[in-house]
């Protein structure tokens, strides 16, 4: 009772806010529950029951199209392969999140895992039929774009960040040019560039398919944003660290790899995860150049006349999937930040 009085009705403004929120919840939550759960149509081979008078949310659309939403147009009988690839990716994410596994072997696990995923998706050997990457799609494609994008952009971003702080003017100028040009334009313009301009850049007869072109644009984009995060980490390392390494006579690359980067990357992990979240959300933009990711599959499913008009349900579902991945990452980054800060405080007290 006392808690309620202090925390909900502390003064008259607070009381008004409390009442307004309660009124809003009373007005919105019961009808939403009625629509989304009680009156909802869960399973149905077509949309007829959804169009009946008094029918609620049409989740049957998701139930009916779930294979398409997960795997796009991947050949039906081979869909266990992208399914397994999704599970492998999630296992890699979870393993990388646990600090127990933070050791050099993790990088090897990633390289091996990504190679295995490539084998699964493409096939062509080991008794797997070849599947060209025009047919990849759905959630599998979204996760692949995000993962391969980060996997290539991250090492590149470290080079860019080091380049931006380099003493060599040409290296510095090129790094700044890349970072600022990319950060100054919207991602869509880079995707357009990859889908319509890149074919013009290449000699006659050389063709890169659409997926790889889009991936290339995403890597160029992500590297610029990640580079700024890494640079923030580099700037936070006290000058004394570099000077001590110099005094020991370590050459530039050994100083950077053994002294500076391990510390800089460690403190950049929380903001890096935030950038990963933004990048994961940005992969949804490939719908605009017509790649078959999660969002495109949902849009295509809605395009069928049988299921048109259920956009609210379909996009709520899309939002839920993206939210699950992003919220997990953001929670993780917050926890990690708290933990790293605590470790830092302890060592300082210890000294």
């Amino acid at each position: 009772m006392r808690w309620v009085r202090e925390n909900l009705f502390g003064n008259w403004a607070s009381a008004i806010a409390t009442l307004a929120i309660l009124w809003l919840a009373w007005k919105l939550v019961p009808p939403f529950v009625q629509w989304a759960l009680i009156d909802a149509v869960w399973v149905s081979p077509d949309s007829r029951p959804c169009r009946a008078e008094g029918a609620g949310a049409c989740w049957a659309l998701i139930a009916e199209k779930h294979r398409f939403i997960l795997f796009g147009t991947y050949p039906f009988e081979h869909q266990w392969r992208p399914g397994l690839a999704i599970l492998l990716l999630i296992a890699l994410y979870v393993a990388s999140a646990l600090r127990r596994f933070w050791r050099p072997a993790l990088a090897l696990a990633w390289i091996g895992g990504l190679a295995l995923i490539g084998l699964l998706m493409w096939g062509g050997t080991a008794g797997l039929a070849y599947v060209e990457n025009e047919r990849w799609g759905g959630l599998a494609l979204t996760l692949l774009l995000a993962t391969f994008g980060i996997a290539f952009a991250f090492p590149l971003s470290i080079l860019l960040a080091l380049g931006r702080r380099s003493k060599l003017p040409a290296v510095r100028a090129l790094s700044v040019l890349w970072i600022e040009l990319v950060r100054g334009v919207p991602l869509i313009s880079l995707l357009f560039m990859a889908s319509v301009m890149l074919p013009l850049f290449l000699p006659e007869g050389v063709n890169i398919d659409k997926l790889l072109r889009a991936l290339l644009a995403m890597i160029v984009f992500a590297a610029a944003y990640l580079a700024e995060v890494v640079r923030g980490g580099l700037q936070a390392i006290p000058h004394g660290q570099g000077e001590a390494a110099d005094a020991l006579g370590l050459p530039y690359w050994r100083k950077t790899l053994l002294v500076i980067l391990p510390q800089a990357l460690r403190i950049s992990i929380p903001p890096l995860v935030n950038t990963f979240i933004a990048f994961f959300k940005d992969t949804s933009l490939v719908v605009i150049i017509g790649l078959f990711d999660l969002l495109t599959s949902i849009k295509v499913a809605l395009g069928e006349p049988a299921w048109s008009g259920f956009g609210v349900e379909a996009y709520l579902f899309a939002a839920l999937v993206y939210f699950a991945f992003c919220f997990a990452m953001s929670r993780y980054s917050q926890d990690l930040e708290r933990e790293l800060e605590r470790g830092h405080a302890r060592t300082e007290r210890g000294v």
């Binding site: 607070s14 040009l181 334009v185 869509i188 313009s189 301009m197 290449l202 996009y315 953001s330």
Partner: protein
Amino acid sequence: MRARAVAAQLALLAAVAFVVWYLASNTVANLEARRIASGFGFLAREAGFEIGESPFLSYGAADSYARAILIGLINTFRVALIGVVLATVLGTLLGLARLSRNWLLAKFAAGYVELLRNVPLLVQLFFLYAVITENLPGPRAALSPLPGVFLSNRGFAFPVLQPHAAHAWIGVALLAGMVLAWLVARWARRRQALTGQPFPAFAAGAALVLGLPLVVFLAAGAPLALARPSLQGFNFTGGAVLSPEFATLLGGLTLYTAAFIAEIVRAGVQAVDRGQFEAAYSLGLPRPRTMRLVILPQALRVIIPPLTSQYLNLTKNSSLAVAIGYPDLVSIANTTMNQTGQAIEGIAIIMAVYLSISLSISVLMNWYNKRIALKGARA
């Protein structure tokens, strides 16, 4: 050592130059092979497509590509400017709400921020667009939550002020009030520096800025006639009508960016040391003046740089308009590229516009940061 550094850099520059030359020569060969014209000559030609909305400047299919792109630019600025203002207001309220002592309010704001930040903007836009175009009734059965306001699947219609000659004079009075308030503030500062006597310059300034226009407004007989929208055939005329595309984009950008601004505002207020409050109170400063003279300047120093980058993000995100069919710069440039085949020029225009916006904002920001930087502190 020096010679090696110079050699390495020269090699790098040569490699970059070679790649650029190689790509450029391929492009020239490809353009010739495909018989695609180059250069910006197409801008003067007739565009031949209609644009859904062209406020401030008339446009028809017979106009040139240059004019079409200008319309796109105006549409981008229109949605970005209104979005920035609305997102700042909503974001500040949410950020302060998260710090509120009211548990329910703080949790509500936190939930809003978590929900909106973790779902891609594009999904939110598609969702809002589906809500408006699929779930709202047609114009004949439009929802009317307030008298004169109509929500339908053809857009939102609401009343606006009927233009009146006195409105211009109210604007003049507002300007005069601002100038006078600035003069009063300057005089008060000098007097306080010389004699130590304070003067309620803030209250006086507010009275001038608000009072002068009010006097003019009342003297002109309070012209508040409204132009109300009314149903004509299948759609609304009169008043202001927001198209579903504009309403979706504006709503989506505002709600999404507000979640990020809320976090910035919260961090900014929390960054001010508690000791600052205590020191100001022990000096005997009253609470409003503590906020205005001590807390706010310090919080703003933390808030403004990330806030500007959110404004830039909002402007860049407005390019998602192309996905829902709002005719912004990117969407019109895209149509132009598809019609003329001149992709390089189209993308160059898009990039040049966004780069000049970004660069001018960052020049402005650097100047501002230098102005508010702590005196004597190292950059």
